[in-house]
């Protein structure tokens, strides 16, 4: 049924309909509304049977999910930012053990400096943790991806992270078509674990593996992740059949058939990008977009196929590898190695800075005019004067003090233009 509600409430309702048996979570902005709503649904037996574990940390949350999943329960958690980092060790255990846990990541920046707003630093920091990573463009897609995520996780016995932009999606009120419980039950069979700890039939999960077999176990992890490249489109197609709308998949092209320029991005910024593309199309500019829906595993063939006929590819990403460059950009370059298109790496929207249509328009103009170097990371809307003043201070003073506090003093505002 179509409803106007907050993204977090919509996701909580969808997760509830997936009938999780154990939810272990620790609140952290901007994920808190999701787990608050879920804990209330457990209290009122709207999710039943289900154990809600109020754990003492994110490390404990993921550890509890690992235990629950290994014992054969459908397990769910949600986190963001530093919370994901605090789980890091357990994330690798969940994926290494092949446990089909589903987690919502309400994407948020990572400190220092501490920042509660949206970017993709958190999910990108764990891109190689062995979790499947799906990115939602809208709250509708966030709902749909969670339903698909449980099925994907359990079919492959792998953990899945559903990434949705913190605040921009989690706290946005917009219309969402929530499915019925019957629809979800038809789509998502009950959990039949591939491996299960059972006192009646004792077995070991998580034995130590030495040099004689470690490579082989890791090879199988890689092979299994790559299977998701087949499973994800199949599940998305099944979803369309059952729910009557398209959601998820590996990639999605927008007005890209004859495009000379294709903009690549992940998550909610695609809506803003598509508005700009429509404006430019009206002026005859041949431009389109490619939405990356699944970042891990990396759909290398689909990305190459979608981009190979373009002259230039502009990657807009909300995170970067400090001292190296773009992250999504590097993956796109890998997909396009030996191919024609020039790739531009743009980092934007860090720590909640709004990505506006105006900024995107001028960025694209700059690219068309040849003013952006393709092999250097470009920061959208960088306040160059602020940076230069701070660099000057560092060069001149013996004890220049911390950058963050110096810059805040220069600018004289705190968080007034953030989002």
């Amino acid at each position: 049924m179509l409803e106007q509600l907050e993204g977090s409430q919509a996701v909580a309702r969808a997760v509830g309909m997936c009938r999780p048996e154990v939810i272990a979570a620790y609140p952290i902005s901007p994920q808190t509304h999701i787990v608050e709503a879920l804990s209330d649904m457990v209290r009122t037996s709207d999710i039943d049977p289900c154990e809600y574990m109020m754990v003492e940390s994110e490390f404990a949350a993921m550890s509890a999910c690992i235990g629950a999943s290994a014992a054969g329960a459908r397990a769910y958690t949600a986190t963001a930012s530093q919370g994901l980092l605090f789980m890091a060790e357990a994330l690798y255990n969940a994926s290494g053990l092949g446990l089909p846990i589903v987690m919502t990541l309400a994407n948020r920046a990572i400190g220092a400096p501490i920042n509660i707003w949206n970017d993709h630093s958190d999910s990108m920091s764990q891109r190689d943790s062995g979790w499947i990573q799906l990115f939602a463009e809208t709250n509708q897609e966030a709902v749909d991806l969670h339903i698909q995520a449980f099925r994907l996780a359990e079919e492959l016995s792998l953990p899945v992270m559903v990434c949705m932009d913190g605040f921009i999606l989690t706290h946005a009120f917009e219309q969402v078509d929530l499915p019925s419980q019957d629809q979800v039950d038809d789509f998502l069979p009950s959990f039949k674990p591939r491996q299960m700890l059972d006192p009646a039939e004792p077995m070991t999960i998580g034995a130590m593996v030495g040099p004689e077999a470690f490579t082989e176990v890791k090879y199988l992890m890689h092979a299994k992740q790559l299977q998701a490249l087949d499973a994800i489109p199949e599940i998305a197609a099944d979803f369309t059949e059952g729910f009557g709308r398209e959601s998820g998949g590996l990639v999605r092209s927008y007005r890209a058939d004859d495009a000379e320029t294709i903009v690549v991005a992940l998550g909610s910024v695609l809506g803003t990008i598509e508005d700009v593309i429509d404006e430019l199309r009206e002026q005859g500019v041949k431009i389109g977009a490619l939405a990356i829906k699944c970042f891990r595993p990396w759909p290398i063939d689909e990305v190459r196929e979608a981009l190979v006929d373009a002259d230039r590819v502009i990657v807009i990403e909300k995170a970067f590898a400090v001292g190296a460059g773009g992250i999504v950009g590097q993956n796109v370059r890998l997909a396009l190695s030996g191919c024609e298109p020039t790739v531009f790496d743009i980092v934007a929207g860090l720590g909640g800075r709004p990505i506006t249509r105006k900024s995107l328009r001028s960025l694209f103009d700059e690219v068309f005019e040849g003013n952006i170097e393709p092999n250097r990371l470009h920061f959208l809307d960088l306040k160059k004067d602020v940076v230069e003043r701070e660099i000057g201070r560092t060069e001149n003073g013996r004890n220049p003090g911390p950058h963050a506090e110096n810059i805040l003093r220069d600018i004289g505002t705190v968080a007034s233009d953030s989002h």
């Binding site: 706290h171 946005a172 809506g271 989002h419």
Partner: protein
């Protein structure tokens, strides 16, 4: 304020339109300036950027007038609804407000109306009702429906009464030609 923009989006949704509401979050402390946005359209809303050129600005706390550029990006044909017992002239805004169309700008004692109907100084419902009276971007019926959905029972009744009184207050000022 966040609740107000959420309710406005629900009211627009109830009228069969597309709506998107989202807040800005500054430092999370009571009393900090909060801005919340709402877009209403007849087609799906894709953009996620903050609203930089609003059609209407609703101000809950007039003490922000001297702290924040509240009306940046608002065109002269835009709407302004400001919570104050004083008029624009008294607030020192006379010259600024003269650039706008007189029937599209109002101050109203939203906190006082809220006290009267809700017993508490919570002006959200009042401002939404007043906004429905000021322009045809949203109907009073849709606003009161959204209020009843959010606040069941007696709370819904009192919020609906507050919104209705506010709507009438603004409409009277419009027909009376009083530049409140």
């Amino acid at each position: 304020m966040v609740t107000a923009s959420e309710l406005l989006s629900v009211a627009a949704f109830d009228e069969g339109r597309h709506a998107q509401a989202f807040p800005t979050f500054g430092s999370e402390r009571t009393g900090a300036p909060v801005v919340s946005f709402c877009r209403i359209d007849d087609k799906a809303i894709r953009t996620r950027e903050p609203v930089s050129h609003p059609d209407a600005v609703i101000v809950q706390d007039p003490t922000l007038l001297h702290q924040v550029d509240l009306f940046g990006g608002l065109d002269p044909d835009g709407y302004i609804l400001l919570n104050s017992e004083r008029g624009f002239d008294e607030l020192g805004m006379g010259e600024f407000i003269s650039a706008f169309q007189p029937e599209r700008v109002r101050t109203m004692p939203a906190t006082a109306i809220a006290r009267e109907h809700l017993g508490r100084p919570l002006p959200n419902s009042v401002l939404l009702g007043g906004f429905a009276g000021l322009c045809d971007l949203i109907s009073l019926d849709a606003v009161t429906q959204a209020l009843r959905d959010r606040f069941p029972g007696k709370l819904g009744d009192s919020n609906t009464a507050a919104a209705t009184a506010a709507c009438e207050h603004v409409r009277e000022s419009l027909t009376g030609g009083v530049h409140a």
